[in-house]
């Protein structure tokens, strides 16, 4: 009993201590935003950007994330933990963040629409999705262009940014992302109209994978052919779909020795490097599901052709561009599998 008490005390100790913002930032944020906000997979947290946003905005951004734009929501962090992260991020410059009024601005969305179309649409897009693929500054991205235009129609942004904060950014611009100041172009009232219009923007509807495969980890088809013929059929179908095929591997290769490896479980790995390069620029973490492969497995006298459910897999990344690609890849892979087992 005494030991159990000690064990419980040991396990609960971190919960009782004041949250350490630096440690929390390093655990949860640094992998994308870098050690001191230099940016990477995630947005750079520069002095300029931090000087334009309130503590409340940062806290809500941590809490809600950006659905479909890589930044996850950290709903399991306690309010004290979120506060500690904000405090740590503020400690970099030593300056407090601005405070904005929370009241809605009085603007007319109808009047804001033509102003938005004239001044903002070139960078933020007609629907407010933000232009250009991907996010962050990783891989081959142009590292001088550090910040992609914000997705103004994103639910996370809309929940986090107050009208007054958006108004202030439009007024002052943002050097790091190339956003000009609209101080001399738009009046205060016109900016309020633009803000009112931004509030009407809706996030895009993301296509989902085929209904019959939803909720399943993999596509599975039974082949009417023998094992070797099926393997050849899959390779031919992949070549026909313009994929480069790597030397095939046994599923257990590298885990079992050459005498005991199961030779009736083959992994056919394939790639289209042009597409891969493009996709890695959208999200460098894609390697966690690479390479594309179709497995051929013989069991109980049946030959099965199996691929990961790529439409489901693509949703792992909270990246709407990858989710769209996953749906397209689903069609391609299912076509290959059908051709191989026809």
């Amino acid at each position: 009993m005494k030991h159990l008490n000690w064990l419980l005390l040991l396990l609960c100790a971190p919960l009782l201590a004041a949250p350490d913002g630096k440690a929390l930032y390093e655990d949860n944020c640094s992998v994308c935003h870098h050690s001191r906000g230099e940016g990477g997979i995630g947005l750079p947290l520069t002095d300029e950007i931090l000087s334009q946003v309130s503590d409340d905005y940062i806290a809500k951004t941590i809490r809600h994330g950006r659905p479909g734009r890589i930044m996850p929501s950290f709903e399991a962090l306690s309010p004290a933990q979120v506060k500690a992260i904000v405090r740590y991020v503020r400690s970099w410059s030593g300056k407090p963040g601005p405070v904005f009024k929370t009241a809605k601005l009085k603007g007319d969305a109808k009047l804001g629409k033509p102003l938005y179309e004239k001044n903002c649409v070139r960078c933020h897009g007609k629907d407010g999705s933000g232009e250009g693929p991907g996010t962050g500054v990783t891989m081959s991205r142009e590292r001088t262009f550090m910040v992609m235009p914000a997705a103004l129609n994103n639910r996370g942004f809309q929940q986090s940014a107050s009208d007054a904060m958006i108004h202030d950014i439009i007024l002052s611009g943002r050097k790091v992302g190339g956003m000009p100041s609209f101080k001399s172009k738009l009046s205060d009232q016109e900016i309020s109209h633009v803000v009112a219009y931004l509030r009407t923007l809706k996030p895009p509807v993301i296509r989902q994978g085929m209904e019959e495969w939803r909720g399943k980890p993999a596509y599975i088809m039974e082949s009417p052919y023998d094992f070797d013929t099926t393997v050849e059929n899959v390779k031919q179908a992949l070549t026909g779909a313009n994929f480069r095929i790597f030397p095939q591997r046994y599923l257990e290769q590298g885990l079992a020795d050459e005498f005991s490896v199961n030779t009736r479980q083959v992994s056919i790995r394939f790639c289209n490097f042009k597409e891969l390069y493009h996709l890695l620029n959208i999200d460098p973490r894609l390697g966690t599901v690479l390479p594309c492969r179709i497995n051929v497995i013989e069991r109980d006298g049946k030959v099965l052709v199996i691929s990961a459910n790529v439409a489901q897999l693509a949703t792992l990344f909270n990246n709407q561009e990858l989710s769209e690609v996953g749906v397209l890849m689903e069609e391609v892979i299912l076509a290959v599998m059908e051709e191989a087992t026809l």
């Binding site: 929501s73 891989m139 980890p217 885990l255 490097f273 891969l276 460098p284 792992l316």
Partner: protein, 152 residues
């Protein structure tokens, strides 16, 4: 010791992930090649064999696409792989497990799929859920070790 390991595993099953994302990630201040070397030494310490290493950057370079250091390490335990595939051939695309090692200038980002994300496909299979939690614990622990590496 066994009890403590059991408690840790239970906590991994009970506690929600801090973020809603389904990837396990870490940043290491060490360079990618060094992280790669240490990771290959660390995997056997957790009972895993390195099945092979995929050179994504090499493949892309062959086709004249410029890329930083980018490798994917495949690893697993033979008995686990055999046991799971015997009941669930649909798990074959996810085995062996893998960790991507990505250079970011002089630092390294490591990323792996959170195996617990697969749990949603097998809501009634407690054994698999436990297996996913075990894998998550191991991957998280190994990535924590990579995070501790000094700049080199």
């Amino acid at each position: 010791m066994k009890i403590l390991a059991g408690i840790c595993l239970m906590l991994a099953l009970m506690l929600p992930a801090q973020a809603d994302q389904k990837l396990v990630m870490a940043r290491s201040h060490a360079k990618a090649q060094h992280v790669m070397d240490v990771l290959k030494e660390t995997l056997p310490e957790y009972g895993y064999s390195v099945a092979h290493v995929q050179r994504c950057d090499g493949g892309m370079a062959e086709f004249h696409y410029k890329s930083d250091f980018y490798r994917v390490v495949f690893f697993g335990k033979l008995e686990e792989v055999r046991r799971i595939l015997a009941d669930h051939p649909e798990m074959s695309p996810y085995l062996p497990l893998k960790i991507a090692v990505i250079a970011e200038n002089d630092e390294t980002v490591l990323a792996a799929m959170d195996p617990r994300a697969l749990g949603a496909f097998f809501p009634d299979d407690k054994k698999l859920q436990l297996q996913f939690a075990r894998w998550y614990n191991d991957i998280q622990a190994m990535l924590d070790e990579m995070r501790q590496l000094k700049k080199k």
